[in-house]
């Protein structure tokens, strides 16, 4: 190992500039939290009502409802996944989802 190698090996790699990621994430989360302060969070109610509507048509297992929210800067997405029971003959592990 030459002298130069010694210095190269000890030089730390440039750390990525993470501060801009911090700023962007803060701006998005705070934009949402500031709204939440003046309006109550409607998501739990929305979820209950949606599931109730679906339950009027099919028998669903309340434990098999998945709600995912992604808060973005320009747009947020709310994904609700309700697992519906399959036809009686194939009930069980192969139950369809949708």
């Amino acid at each position: 190992m030459s002298w130069l190698d010694y210095f190269r090996a000890n030089r730390k790699p440039e750390p990525p500039a993470t501060a801009s990621a911090a700023k962007e994430r803060l701006q998005i989360v705070l934009a949402h939290e500031r709204i939440g302060r003046t309006r109550e969070d409607f998501l739990p109610k929305l979820q209950m009502e949606l599931v109730a509507v679906v339950a009027r048509y099919v028998a669903i297992d309340p434990g098999k409802v998945n709600i995912n929210l992604d808060r973005g800067g320009d747009m947020s997405t709310l994904a609700i996944e309700i697992e519906l029971p399959g036809p009686p003959s194939v009930r069980g592990p192969r139950a369809a989802t949708g």
Partner: protein, 273 residues
Amino acid sequence: MAQVIVVTSGKGGVGKTTTSAAIATGLAQRGKKTVVIDFDVGLRNLDLIMGVERRVVFDIVNVIQGEARLNQALIRDKRVDTLSILPASQTRDKDALTREGVATIIDQLKEDHDFILCDSPAGIEKGALLALYFADQAIVVTNPEVSSVRDSDRILGVLQSKSKRAEEKRDKVKEHLLVTRYDPNRVERGEMLKLEDIREILAIPLLGVIPENESVLRASNTGTPVIMDQESAAGQAYKDAVSRFLGEDVPHRFLEPDKKPGLFKRLFGGRAA
């Protein structure tokens, strides 16, 4: 008319007690009759930072429960004669502080003080709510770090909805941003949120920027508020902040890395530090 100032942050460990001790001492040094109250019941620490821990006899809970008079519980600072400290209780729990009790104490203190500083505990629970309830002004202590900035935003929301001024629909609590533990070297490397970013996000007037500085630990070791160390960057930065608080126009310092200016800077000039 006496002003009640809360030093608050939401997040813990960002420098509220360090700041309360420094600003209270600074205001008193400027001749203002100042009292600083520790609201961190159960986790009293202001007494240590102020160096009066051996002189505590009674505390705020004793006063509220009628076991001591306010004058007996107040500790006169030996360095600055316009300064006194009202310690928190170490043994009682937070429920020992009542809003009525605190109201009586603050009303009494208002009679013969210019400034009443309230060192808030962390969080947004009862103790923190009580510390900010009577505030006319708030110093929001923020570190250049995501969770601290978020919690500061949260506490600003609380100030605007849960303070006495908000409840009574009077003029809102006057807000001041104090960024502490700022490390210009890490900012320059892009590792730490820039001052401008924090200002843009929180959008409240800037009182000061206190650099990350070894002098703060030294000051706490000896129980001397860091503002008394005027050799140190943090001490000077706190002194500037006190001047701004009193309405003076003082430029911000310690915002640039303390290394020798590079060729580019020497040729084209950097921003004044």
